[in-house]
Symmetry: C2
Subunit: 324 residues, 2 copies
C-alpha cells in the first residue's frame, strides 16, 4: 500500500510503497478514506518530538471502513483508567505506532467510534485529535458554561475553531484574536461576538474594554503576549493552555494571578471518556468541523506547507484514496 512515512530529520517525509499492515492479535484492518493534519505531524517533521522512529507511518486523525461500516478512529492509545491524567505509557496514534496517512491501518476495534451521521467522511476525519483537545480543555478542564464569556487566542487552527464552535453551541459568548483580519471576519461569520488583531498596540486594553473581560481564556501561544492575554481575565477566570507556539511565557505577574484568584489549567489531548463525550456532543449539536482544504494523499506536501505557514482556517484533510 501507499503510506506517508517518517524517514529522517534531513528528509522527513515520503509517500512510500510498503507492505500492507498485518492485523495483530485482536486487531482489525480498516480501509482508510480520509485523514487530517495536526501541528503534531509538522512538529515531527522538524524533529521536535522525542523518540522519532524512522519508518513510522504518520497521522493521528482518520476515517475508514470496516465490515461495510464507516468509523472514526480514536487516536488515544493507553490513556488508562484515570480521568484526570494519562498513564505513563499513553501515546498518540502516528508515532511510534503506524498512523492514518496510508491506505490501510491495523488497529484494535475498541479504537473505532461510529461516525456522526450528519458529517461527510472528510468532515469527520477533521474531528478526532483537535476535537478531543478542544473538548477537554474547554469542558473537562475549564468547565465552560453558557454564562461564561470566552476568549480564544489565535483563531484559525483546528483546536481553536472547535473551541469556538463548541462554546457557541452551548450558548457562551465568544471573542477571538488573530494576526489576520480575514480570519477574524470568518470567525465572526461563524458566530464570534468580536475579535481583535493581536498585532495592534494595546490590543488587550481595547479588548478588555470592549468585551467586559473574560471568564475563560483558551491559549496555545504562551510567549511574551501571555501577560497581556491574562490582563483581559475577570476575577476567578479559568485559563486553559494546550500549546506554546510562541515559546516561554515572559514576565508573568504573580500578583495578577493571586489578586484575581486565577485558575490556570494545562491540558493536552483527553481520555477515552472525553473522546466519547466529544463525539456525543458533536452529534447532539450537529457541529460541522471547518475544513480548510482537502489534498490528495499524494499531494501531502502542499498540506504540510500550508499548516507550517499558518495559512489554514480549519482542518487540512487528506484524501487517502487519491494516490497520485
Amino acid at each position: 500500500m501507499r503510506a506517508i512515512q517518517y524517514q529522517s530529520k534531513e528528509q522527513p517525509l515520503a509517500l512510500s510503497l510498503i507492505d500492507d499492515p498485518v492485523a495483530g492479535i485482536d486487531e482489525v484492518i480498516v480501509n482508510l478514506k480520509y485523514s487530517a493534519l495536526n501541528h503534531r505531524d509538522v512538529f515531527i517533521t522538524k524533529g521536535l518530538y522525542p523518540n522519532l522512529r524512522p519508518g513510522t507511518v504518520l497521522g493521528s486523525d482518520g476515517v475508514g471502513e470496516w465490515q461495510g461500516k464507516e468509523y472514526l478512529i480514536n487516536p488515544n492509545i493507553d490513556w488508562g483508567p484515570d480521568q484526570q491524567l494519562p498513564a505513563d505509557e499513553y501515546h498518540i496514534l502516528g508515532m511510534p505506532d503506524d498512523g492514518t496517512f496510508a491506505e490501510k491501518i491495523a488497529i484494535h476495534p475498541d479504537r473505532l467510534v461510529r461516525k456522526p451521521e450528519h458529517l461527510t467522511s472528510s468532515q469527520a476525519a477533521a474531528l478526532p485529535l483537535a476535537g478531543l483537545t478542544a473538548y477537554r480543555v474547554l469542558f473537562s478542564r475549564c468547565q465552560l458554561s453558557a454564562e461564561d464569556r470566552l476568549l480564544v487566542n489565535g483563531i484559525g487552527g483546528g483546536v481553536a475553531l472547535f473551541v469556538l464552535q463548541f462554546a457557541l453551541a452551548i450558548g457562551a459568548e465568544v471573542w477571538i484574536t488573530s494576526s489576520s483580519q480575514e480570519k477574524i471576519d470568518r470567525a465572526r461569520g461563524i458566530g464570534a461576538t468580536g475579535g481583535i488583531l493581536y498585532s495592534e498596540d494595546n490590543w488587550h486594553k481595547s479588548l478588555k474594554k470592549n468585551s467586559g473581560g473574560f471568564d475563560v481564556i483558551i491559549d496555545s501561544a504562551g510567549g511574551a503576549g501571555f501577560s497581556q492575554l491574562i490582563s483581559t481575565a475577570n476575577k476567578g477566570a479559568r485559563i486553559g493552555i494546550y500549546g506554546g507556539s510562541c515559546g516561554p511565557i515572559l514576565n508573568l505577574s504573580p500578583q495578577v494571578i493571586f489578586w484575581k484568584h486565577l485558575n490556570i489549567f494545562g491540558s493536552t489531548m483527553g481520555s477515552d471518556q472525553d473522546f466519547t463525550a466529544m463525539v456525543d456532543f458533536v452529534d447532539q449539536y450537529t457541529i460541522v468541523p471547518v475544513v480548510d482544504s482537502v489534498f490528495a494523499l499524494a499531494d501531502f506536501k502542499r498540506g504540510f506547507d500550508r499548516m507550517d505557514h499558518g495559512l489554514q482556517f480549519g482542518k487540512i484533510v487528506l484524501d487517502n484514496r487519491r494516490l497520485d
Copy 2:
C-alpha cells in the same frame, strides 16, 4: 488611646495618642491584648498598597476582650456570599478601616470568633490573616490530602509555617526550601521530611530526585526561580500562589504546563467560611502557631525591621498593653 497610625510615605508610622474609638451602629468596643504583623503592614509602610489613607490605624490580626470573654478578630470585611471569589467591596481590616495596632477597636461583633482554648492570647493573635491565607490556598484551592507530597517554597514566614503545620496535621509528607539552613533545620524539627537551600546550584534537580516530586506546591515568591520550582511538580500537580516577593515569573514553559496537566491556582485571604473552617481545624488538631517574637506595641519598629529583613521564623506579635 495609643495606636500605630499610618502617616505618610516619608514618615510612615508613629505611635500616636488618639481619641478612643466610638462604636458605630451595631459595633462594639474590644479591648485589644495582642496583635501580629503581616507582610501587608510592611508593604503599606513602603507605599506598595493602593489608596493609602493617612491617619489609619494599621493591623489586621488581633485578640481582645469583650464582655469578659476573649475573641479572635476575623480580618475579612465584606467578602460576600460567593465562596469562590470576594465581592468588589472586599477589604482587609487595617486599611482603610482602623485596625488592631491599638489599645481598642470598634468592630462588628460578627467579626469576633471564639479563641481556641489550647492557645495563649499571644499565640492566638498570630493566627488570623496568615492562618486564613494558608488554609484557603492549601485546602480550598489546592485540595491537599493526606496522600499528597507537598513542597512549601520559602519556609519561615507566617503563612508558609501554617501551610507546613496544617499539612503535617492531616498526615501529608512535606518538604521545604529556604535560603537559611537554620530555618530548614527548624522546619525539620517541626516535622518536615526534608529541605533544600534554593541558593544551591541545581537545587530543583536534587530536590526532585530526593523527594520523588510533588503533588502540591505552595509558593509566594514567583520570580526567576518559579520555573525550577515547577520542574519538581508531578504530573497533575496543583500549584498554589499567594504571593510574589521575587517579582515577575520569567521564562515559564507552556509545554511543562500542558504536558504535565498542571493546575495553577492564585489565592489571597479567604472567605468567612474559610475563616471558621480554619479556626475549627486549629482546634481539632490543636495547632499551636509558631511565634517568632513578641514586642511591646511601643517597640513596633523593631518588629517591622525584623520582618522587613526576613529574619523571622513564625509570626511577629505585638503586646498591645505595653505602651512604653
